[in-house]
């Protein structure tokens, strides 16, 4: 299928190459499952006290700098989201949304929380189960990434990808939604690599550490985590902000999957094989 004869003129041809190992594909999809349930159960937990503080303590009488609540408005209610001193009306989505046809005070709407109704105990049960699942899956991935050379080979940008000219060129190409073709498409582009690094090595570990910092049992074991994050309530706030950044990452990630060849991308993350067009005679197949 891939042998080329020297006398043939070079012409483009499609090949499939093995891009994602089974370990990467499996941990990727398990991570999708875990993060989806963690997000939805996390918002259920947030709804039990939809105010965020900074420092060691924080409750009703203390100053919160992010708050999602409902206020009465005549004979109805309206949802208000407040960040610092800025209040934004968010009726219908945040603060007040319909449950069974009726506008109800709820920080995050029913369709995005698990369970759909208000039930902190169940939300916690789902959250902690999938937190364990996520941590174990994450460890398997990190171990694989280090031992099998996945990080070095696929995730850390190559030296030529980090030159200012190359980065400037890539930013320009991304802005036009043009993506590498041919041989260059065999590896992730540098913006992609840097983003994945930020998610793998910063955002996801931050979720775990800030989560653990909210546990009073864990505080007794590693009290220094309280100092790292500035207190339990700060850790809770960072947990929320980091989760929001992960949601933003997923939105961009999905958009990139869509615009850079949705079927090819999906096939590669399911079967491992990514298709690309190369000049005959030049391709190397693994």
């Amino acid at each position: 299928m891939t042998s080329a004869t020297d006398h043939e003129p070079a012409r483009p041809r499609k090949i499939l190459f093995y891009r994602h190992s089974i370990a990467v594909r499996l941990t990727h999809w398990l991570n999708v499952l875990c993060l989806s349930f963690l997000l939805m159960s996390g918002l259920q937990i947030f709804n039990a006290h939809p105010d965020l503080y900074w420092g060691q303590y924080g409750a009703d009488a203390d100053h919160s700098f992010i708050s999602i609540g409902a206020v009465s408005d005549g004979d109805t209610i309206k949802g208000i989201t407040r960040v610092g001193s800025i209040s934004i009306p968010t009726t219908g989505v945040l603060g007040a949304s319909t449950v069974g046809g009726e506008l109800t005070p709820r920080a995050f709407p029913s369709w995005i929380t698990i369970p759909g109704y208000q039930d902190l105990a169940t939300g916690r049960r789902w959250h902690f189960f999938f937190a364990w699942f996520f941590v174990i899956n994450g460890f398997v991935y990190l171990l694989y990434g280090l031992i099998a050379g996945h990080f070095r080979r696929d995730i850390v940008p190559a030296r030529d990808q980090l030159t200012p000219q190359h980065l400037a060129h890539e930013i320009g190409e991304h802005a036009r939604l043009r993506f590498p073709k041919g041989e260059e498409a065999r590896r992730y582009n540098s913006l992609q690599k840097l983003t994945y690094m930020a998610v793998i090595f910063i955002l996801l570990p931050l979720m775990v550490l800030t989560g653990l910092t909210m546990s009073p049992g864990f505080n007794a074991i590693f009290p220094w985590l309280l100092d790292v994050f500035g207190g339990r309530q700060s850790a809770r706030t960072i947990h929320f902000i980091t989760a929001s950044l992960l949601v933003a990452f997923v939105v961009v990630h999905l958009a990139m999957v869509l615009v850079s060849g949705v079927w090819n991308n999906l096939r590669s993350m399911i079967t491992g094989y990514y298709g690309l067009t190369v000049e005959t005679g030049k391709e190397t197949v693994k």
């Binding site: 902690f128 009073p216 309280l226 309530q233």
Partner: protein, 257 residues
């Protein structure tokens, strides 16, 4: 072509499955089998925290400067019973803490008895399961000393705390607030029976005359309005059988997370 179709069918199939998963979440939530699996994580959490707490570390203690300006009162703020009203009227002079069950010597201790015992003062953070925290200063007698005074009978595994308040009105008494901890927490140095908060007698809203402080666990474990401590080998026969008011309503018995 054939491969293409199969793949497409597979993808369509999985997106349908994904939508089904989201709208079917509440069905999953109510599935007993799913719940049993999810609950296994609690044993994992408790097991790993207990393993890492083998050296019995203390919860962080803060300074006076860290105290919450307002300590939020939560749960029952005023027990609604004639017995409690009478005790409160008498400034809790007639109140007694009963310690019984699997003990060698059952006790009946007045507030003065408890105050005459060695005390511990600690400034700690109180974490509600809802997500908020407040820092307060607590003084009380270490539970371990009271249990030593009573003497544990062989086989005692848990201390059950019976409270004066009925948090949920019920005909059968199932709304009575109660809690339980095991002996590891019961003998932890910061586990105290507190009669004073922020340098003053414990207020009614915070559990007067006596409440449990079990630092390293969430707020609902810190039972207020204590009336009786019973040593048991199992709490299976009590109300919902899960060892506490909130535990009977789906919350974790081990509330270290």
């Amino acid at each position: 072509m054939k491969l293409e179709l199969t793949r497409r069918r597979f993808l369509i199939g999985s997106s349908v499955a994904a939508t089904g998963l989201l709208t079917g979440c509440d069905a999953l939530v109510e599935n007993a089998g799913v719940n049993d699996i999810l609950q296994k994580a609690e044993a994992l959490t408790m097991g790993s925290q207990r393993l890492l707490q083998a050296h019995a570390p203390l919860a962080r203690e803060f300074t006076e400067a860290d105290l919450s300006p307002t300590f939020k009162a939560n749960g029952t703020q005023m027990p609604d019973s004639e017995d409690y009203a009478r005790l409160m009227e008498g400034n809790f002079a007639d109140w007694r803490l009963v310690v019984n069950g699997m003990v060698r010597t059952p006790l009946s201790l007045s507030l003065a008895d408890l105050k005459a015992m060695p005390s511990r003062t600690q400034i700690t953070r109180h974490d509600c399961v809802e997500g908020w925290s407040a820092i307060g200063k607590w003084t009380g007698v270490p539970l371990g000393l009271v249990l030593q005074k009573a003497g544990l009978a062989p086989g005692a595994r848990y201390a059950v705390f019976y409270c004066a308040d009925e948090y949920e009105k019920s005909l059968d008494g199932s709304g009575q607030y109660y809690e339980s901890i095991d002996l590891i927490d019961a003998f932890h140095p910061q586990t105290i029976l507190s009669y004073s908060m922020n340098g003053k007698d414990l207020e009614v809203a915070h559990g007067a005359p006596l409440r449990l402080r079990v630092e390293r666990q969430l707020g609902y474990k810190h039972a207020k309005y204590l009336m009786r401590i019973e040593l048991v080998d199992s709490f299976r026969g009590l109300w919902g059988g899960k060892g506490g008011f909130w535990e009977d309503r789906g919350y974790e018995w081990y509330a270290g997370i």
